[in-house]
Symmetry: C2
């Protein structure tokens, strides 16, 4: 019966259901006495908040994970990070694969939202390959991190820290076992590079990683348009964010102002990579200049690439919309990217995501400003961070009232599932109307 | 020659050209020694800033208009307010009329951007009628305001103040001859109601006013979809803004906290009406709560209705997009408003305006935060206020550096002309491409 109901469900609803069930189960595990260190106790809302943050790979926390949770509790969190990261990557990669096939074989069925039997074998292959690649990358990351942590902690602890931060980084989760995040390691080249590389690989998406592997194996297969766009936009955003961060914070003594030149560049690179969705920080976020806060809000909102562990409206959505805007200004008829035309369906999907995201985020910010006592920039930053599943905070997460915490929990979930997918999951099934209303124009703008 | 060149120009470019010429001429007039009071002197940038603010009916000022400018200077400002208000109203009403005709007679030519001979007679009629209605409303407004001002100033001054504030209110300009705007009159019922009514009439657009007049004359003609939508959205925004403002500022002693209940409601109503584009204030903006600041940013961004003296992305644009979002969530195929279908051209125009506006405003905010020393909320508020030609400010207009002032001048102009119209005016003429690129899909969001 349940199997039958699941088969008739659109994938968007299944995805949402999986997340909700995971949060439900996880929150009970974290409520077990064994999950916290002696003398600590957490409430139900804190438990839900933490698990949602883990499974949505966000990284916002209302308590200090390194102190409040026992090794068992931390393992539960790590498990849900891995589950969330793998889950969303698998789901969107399957969608990606299906879209890719549809284009080639039967263009008319683009984005038809059901998995049919003919794909099953291929999907099993894809998932196997994905899991293997993910574990390989995470193990390599663990080795590097553990070797570095060994310099200042015993082997067992260094290994635990290595595993935790490798998974957390690859899944773009941003959870850390250090109270001040990675601020203590802003000078360590190994930590910076390893974590940044894990974040980039996790945030670039499985399809692009696959394309790379195929390319080096066969030297033949060309990159498809999505992969090209992901690489191009990711590079622009990472370098652009790095240069702007460097310029904005150059003289700020509370962040990178007192570092030497090389150290400044490394910190800027790291912070640019991590802000788009991972959420680690090597500089204190609350001390950033207003310009950097705004820059971070924009980067967090854009986020990572589709088919990845990252959040936000996605690099491709941003890219299509930018090309659209340039096209309007130039008076072009079609939207063109590297000698390919983008269909109106794709453009409309991108615009729908942008509009729904802006509307949703604005509404939550307004409600939270009305019902809580946090500041203007702090609230905007926190909501966008939750929505982009980034997890950076200007330090107000623990100060929020209960209602705000519930809003942030919902926002993390919606940000993770994707606002459009969320809307489709909850919405009624689209059905053809029998009669159409007559058209009438409206004067716009 | 020039006549011929103008005839071949798209109306969007003519509109932009008219504004630029007006700013050029006006800035010279304000630089005349007679334009300022003895002992005062203004630079070229200040002169351009003031005239741009006047002709774009924005109301942001870097100097105190009531003290720095002589009666002659104030008359120049008033002249350009009237010119800007009438100009934009005429331009968009002609467009409105043409769109209305096209729908009925030849649907295919929607939005074709040239005025042809057959329309000329009708346009002359429309402009005559528009000017007559505007002057009638402004004269009635002047009478009420003058009678009220007479209570505390001599007749000549009261009349000057009456004329100035009547035109400034109807044109949604927000310029005032009082140093603290209308803060001194927050308790006056006559001033509040007269100004609010002038703002509403100016902001609701000529087409709607015409529809009303026709309705009461003939009792027959039904409102078209645009007019219905304008009325509905304007009512929702005004009442919604009023209720939220009332709730947010109820206890704020620096704004309405110390007023009595009736006084509180009146101030909330007035501030809600004026924030969407007029820019008068009866409460000090710098003392508002963070929630109200955010609410105001949203209201200023949405703005007034098309075919009006107001700015912003316009009520109809906002309305179409909201209906679109609800439609997606509900899984509807068509966008329907009161038993009418909205065409995809209209939706795409609305989305284009929204996207371009968000992109433009975000970019200017980021640049200004990077290059000036103003605060996070102050900068966001100032840029949106300029873009929506609102003119409210958290009190930093005079503190901006020269570069920021230039940015604000450009933003007022773009906000006034409309970002899409501006893009079309500057953009190359759209031409058919000979060969189309092949289509390719992109994974979105
Ligand atoms: K994260
Ligand atoms: K104004």
């Amino acid at each position: 019966m349940i199997g039958f109901a699941l088969k008739k469900m659109p994938p968007s609803r299944i995805l949402l259901l999986v997340f909700v069930v995971a949060i439900f189960v996880g929150s009970f595990l974290l409520l077990l006495p064994a999950a916290v260190t002696p003398g600590n106790k957490i409430g139900y809302l804190t438990s839900i908040f933490t698990v949602t943050s883990a499974v949505c790979v966000t990284g916002l926390t209302v308590v200090d994970v390194s102190k409040v949770f026992s090794p068992f509790g931390q393992s539960v969190i790590l498990f849900f990070i891995q589950l969330g990261g793998l889950g969303i990557m698998t789901f969107s990669s399957i969608l990606f694969m299906m879209i890719g096939k549809r284009i080639t074989y039967h263009e008319m069925k683009i984005l038809k939202e059901d998995l049919n039997a003919e794909n099953t074998g291929e999907i099993v292959q894809l998932v196997k390959r994905l899991v293997m690649i993910v574990f390989t990358i995470e193990i390599i990351g663990t080795i590097f991190l553990t070797l570095e942590f060994l310099k200042e902690m015993p082997f067992k602890k260094a290994l635990l820290f290595g595993i935790f931060h490798s998974i957390s980084a690859f899944c773009n989760a941003g959870f850390s076992l250090f109270t001040t995040g990675l601020e203590g390691y802003s000078g360590s080249v190994i930590i910076n590079l390893t974590i940044a590389l894990l974040i980039i690989l996790g945030g670039i998406g499985f399809a692009v990683i696959s394309s790379f592997i195929s390319y080096y194996k066969t030297k033949k297969k060309r990159f498809n348009l999505s992969s090209k766009m992901v690489l191009r936009i990711s590079t622009i955003l990472t370098l652009g964010g790095m240069v702007l961060f460097f310029a904005l914070e150059y003289r700020n003594p509370l962040t990178i102002g007192k570092m030497n030149f090389f150290h400044k560049i490394m910190a800027s690179f790291f912070q640019s990579v991590t802000t788009r969705t991972a959420g680690f920080n090597t500089v204190p976020i609350g001390s950033l200049t207003p310009g950097t806060i705004f820059l971070f809000c924009v980067l967090m909102f854009i986020g990572a690439s589709p088919g990845s562990t990252g959040g936000g409206i996605k690099t491709t959505t941003f890219g299509v919309i930018m090309v659209y805007v340039v096209g309007i200004v130039r008076g072009q008829e079609d939207i063109e990217i590297s000698n390919r035309r983008i269909t109106w369906q794709i453009l409309n999907r991108a615009l729908a995501i942008l509009v729904i995201s802006v509307a949703y985020v604005s509404t939550i910010i307004l409600i939270m400003l009305m019902t809580d006592h946090l500041g203007f920039s702090e609230t905007i930053f926190e909501v966008i961070s939750a929505f982009g599943t980034v997890g950076l905070s200007m330090g107000v997460t623990a100060d929020m009232n209960e209602f705000s915490r519930i809003l942030i929990i919902i926002t993390m979930l919606i940000g993770r599932v994707g606002p459009l997918t969320f809307a489709l999951a909850l919405g009624e099934q689209s059905k053809k109307k029998e009669r159409k209303y007559p058209k009438e124009n409206i004067l716009i703008g």
